[in-house]
């Protein structure tokens, strides 16, 4: 004998208060057991003690006016007056003072272009043309000698414009090289594969500083006698060759992730090797490795700080230039370094956030 009760659907009810909401969050994340509660107590104690001290040094008792005597007398606060006084030499390097509106505009244009290229909606056919246009305008503004602008030699370029210039130009130039090397490393032809592997492993085994030294000291020796290579070009070649090796590895990872069946299907449809690479393999591989390419760009951006060692005055070098010769401000160089650290942090953090966002998008499109 079976007794059947009629099925009664139950409407959804909100969860009880101590399993959701802010109270519950605190309970599970900060006070879940005695060990966690103890560490919460200790850490909050330390934070509550140190953070007000830090704020007091950095903000409340700091000097903001560009007056070095006030800074000297202020023993309990930071001296941001250094920044107020020297910011132009830090950001623009040795560029002539009156002409500094030119690198300002050039930098804003180039940064805007880079940001625009990150937006998916902008990936149309006019984007490469825009790149060419903006780069031409950039060089025209920075170098001058046209349209009545005064000529400014490349060894006077410095600061933030130099950093952005070096990073973006090396990114653009290293890409084709990296593509060829990545394809070469996966080729069936042993000579080409060996050569590409040697190139990549050689570059990855040595520090960037040695490549920059090589570019700086040895590059002039490699050129036919009588040619004079600009120091900026030498450094650019060094950074580009260096970044290309790492970029080649990133692209190769993407190529490896394409299933073999794609190439086989293309073969059965009669497509040649280059047609297959162009239309089938590369579009998929490159879309997959955009986060890797972004990481490469962030690394190159940070690596441009090394050109200080070969006498190009990007942010760090410009700061030392501005402060080392000025005894009044020398004691406060730490604040200068912190300011530059903040600039780098803002740029790199935004780029890494973007890269993570792209990675999420790529993963989302993989699911149906």
């Amino acid at each position: 004998m079976t007794s059947t009760t009629l099925f009664q659907p139950i409407a959804a009810r909100p969860a009880p208060i101590n399993t959701s909401g802010p109270v519950a969050w605190v309970k599970t994340n900060l006070l879940s057991d005695w060990k966690t509660s103890l560490s919460t107590l200790i850490i909050s104690g330390l934070l509550l003690w140190y953070i007000p001290q830090l704020l007091s040094w950095a903000v409340f008792h700091a000097t903001w006016v560009p007056n070095h005597e006030v800074c000297h007398n202020n023993h309990v606060g930071a001296c941001w007056g250094l920044i107020a006084e020297k910011y132009r030499i830090i950001i623009f390097g040795r560029y002539p003072y009156e002409e500094q509106w030119r690198p300002l505009i050039a930098t804003i244009l180039l940064t805007g272009l880079l940001v625009l290229s990150c937006v998916r909606a902008a990936w149309k056919t006019w984007l490469p043309i825009l790149w060419v246009v903006v780069f031409t305008v950039f060089f025209m503004l920075m170098y001058g000698n046209v349209l009545g602008l005064e000529k400014v030699e490349t060894n006077r370029w410095g600061g933030l414009p130099l950093t952005i210039l070096l990073s973006s130009v090396s990114l653009v130039l290293c890409f084709p090289i990296a593509l060829v090397v990545a394809l070469g490393r996966r080729s069936n032809l042993p000579a080409i594969r060996t050569f590409c592997t040697i190139y990549v492993e050689l570059i990855r085994g040595v520090p960037l500083i040695s490549v920059l030294f090589m570019a700086s000291f040895m590059f002039p020796l490699f050129m036919p006698p009588g040619t004079d290579i600009d120091v900026l070009i030498r450094v650019l070649v060094g950074i580009t060759l260096f970044a290309a090796a790492y970029m080649a590895e990133v692209i190769r990872g993407g190529l490896q992730a394409i299933p073999k069946g794609q190439v086989e299907a293309a073969a059965t449809l009669g497509l040649s090797y280059w047609q297959t690479q162009r239309k089938i393999v590369l579009p998929q591989a490159l879309a997959m490795v955009v986060p890797g390419i972004m990481n490469n760009f962030i690394s190159t951006f940070k690596d441009t700080s090394l050109v200080t060692i070969v006498s190009l005055y990007e942010l760090t070098g410009a700061l030392k230039l501005g402060v080392n010769s000025d005894a009044n401000w020398r004691p406060f160089i730490i604040e200068g370094y912190l300011f530059i650290a903040l600039i780098y942090f803002v740029f790199c953090f935004s780029m890494s956030r973007y890269s993570r966002w792209v990675e999420k998008q790529v993963n989302k499109s993989k699911l149906r």
Partner: protein, 392 residues
């Protein structure tokens, strides 16, 4: 039917054959590369002749003519260049090895901390990683150097804890006076380590035979300590220490770590630890949750779950990028040239400026780093093979 060997491949040479085309492309590529190499070498020789630059590695046997700020063993300006390069290499290795050990320890703690149950710990680890990853390492090295040389007090007012002094002159600490006792203690440590290994083998065999777990950590540690103490006692139990004392201008005696070394070490450790933390985090996150759940369902406690199930699988994912980070740390130590720490790049730079032999000096530097990279890769590759999961 037996499996005979496949017949020898006969290629017929024509434009339409795949093998022929492949060969042709390779010949063309090799020819292009050879031409480029010849072009560069030719220009280099012509330029060097024109500028009167000499070439050759013979300069290595000439006296160097410069002093080196710090070294593991004495060096003066009469010594030849190759001796200076050796000191540079030893300085690089010194800071790299200590840096690798310290940053691995710190990075692993931070990586595991990202999974802590305490949201504050998670937040602090995240803040650390994001802050130190996004600032260039050169800037961090410069900052630490400035802090160590400007913020720290002069030697006269050095901070003092017992016999340890911290000041602008660096970190001074007492070191034992080298006598027979230390030598015997070192032998004792060696004996202890061998005993450690044998004990572990015995303990594993006992566990498998009887099921009774033996202490795998404390007993071996006690063995090592006991053996080293025995050795020390046998050598006469020396307790003489070379203590640093405040001299007129600086701290004298005792062992010292210069501010340059400290700045490079601290900067590299903190920077690389943030990357290692991400690698460790990625490794632990890559182990599927189901593994932990299966371990709990089998009755393993949390510590056993970690050491027997999660960590071995996480290690497989961690080791290749970890190797990368070790290589990065070693390469980043080259930035010490900006601070004045005499690593191999700095020595090469000085030699280059003095002798003008740019090609030779830079090639030596690259050779040193390539050798180090190769050695590290091989070592970690051996370790990686032991950790991989066998697949079909």
């Amino acid at each position: 039917m037996s499996t005979d060997k496949p017949p020898h491949k006969k290629n017929y040479w024509s434009w339409r054959s795949q093998a022929f085309r492949g060969l042709l492309y390779q010949v063309l590529a090799l020819a292009a590369i050879c031409f480029v190499v010849w072009f560069l070498a030719h220009n280099t020789l012509v330029n060097m002749r024109n500028r009167g630059i000499q070439s050759g590695f013979d300069f290595l046997t000439q006296p160097s003519g410069f002093a080196i700020g710090e070294s593991l063993y004495p060096f003066d300006s009469e010594e030849p260049y190759w001796h200076a390069f050796l000191i540079g290499i030893s300085n690089t290795l010194r800071v790299a090895i200590v840096g690798i050990i310290l940053s691995t320890m710190l990075g692993t703690l931070l990586g595991i901390g990202r999974f802590s149950r305490n949201a504050l710990v998670r937040g602090l680890c995240l803040t650390y990683v994001e802050t130190f990853r996004n600032i260039p390492v050169l800037l961090q090295l410069l900052l630490w150097y400035v802090v160590l040389t400007e913020v720290l007090p002069n030697s006269a007012d050095a901070w003092q804890v017992g016999s340890v002094f911290l000041s602008k002159g660096g970190l001074n600490f007492p070191i034992p006076v080298w006598a027979a006792g230390q030598f015997w203690a070192a032998i004792g440590v060696l004996v202890g380590v061998i005993g450690f290994w044998f004990y572990r083998r015995w303990a594993i065999r006992q566990f498998e035979a009887t099921g009774k777990p033996r202490s795998m950590f404390w007993v071996p540690v006690v063995i090592v300590i006991a053996c080293s103490l025995l050795g020390w006692a046998l050598g006469g139990a020396p307790i003489a220490l070379n203590r640093p004392i405040k001299g007129d201008f600086s701290i004298e005696n005792g062992g010292a770590l210069t501010p340059e070394f400290l700045a490079v070490l601290i900067g590299l450790t903190l920077y690389t630890a943030s990357f290692i933390a991400e690698v460790v985090r990625g490794g632990i996150a890559s182990v599927p949750r189901g593994q932990g759940e299966a371990a709990s369902a089998l009755g393993l406690n949390r510590q056993q779950e970690m050491s027997l199930v999660m960590l071995p699988q996480a290690l497989r994912v961690i080791i290749p990028p970890l190797t990368n980070q070790y290589l990065n740390l070693t390469k980043n130590s080259s930035l010490a040239v900006a601070i004045g720490y005499p690593d191999v790049v700095s020595i090469a730079n000085t030699s280059l400026n003095q002798t003008g032999r740019a090609v030779e000096c830079i090639s030596l530097v690259m050779l040193v780093y390539l050798a180090t990279s190769l050695a590290t890769t091989l070592l970690m590759g051996w370790y990686n093979k032991r950790a991989t999961i066998k697949e079909r």
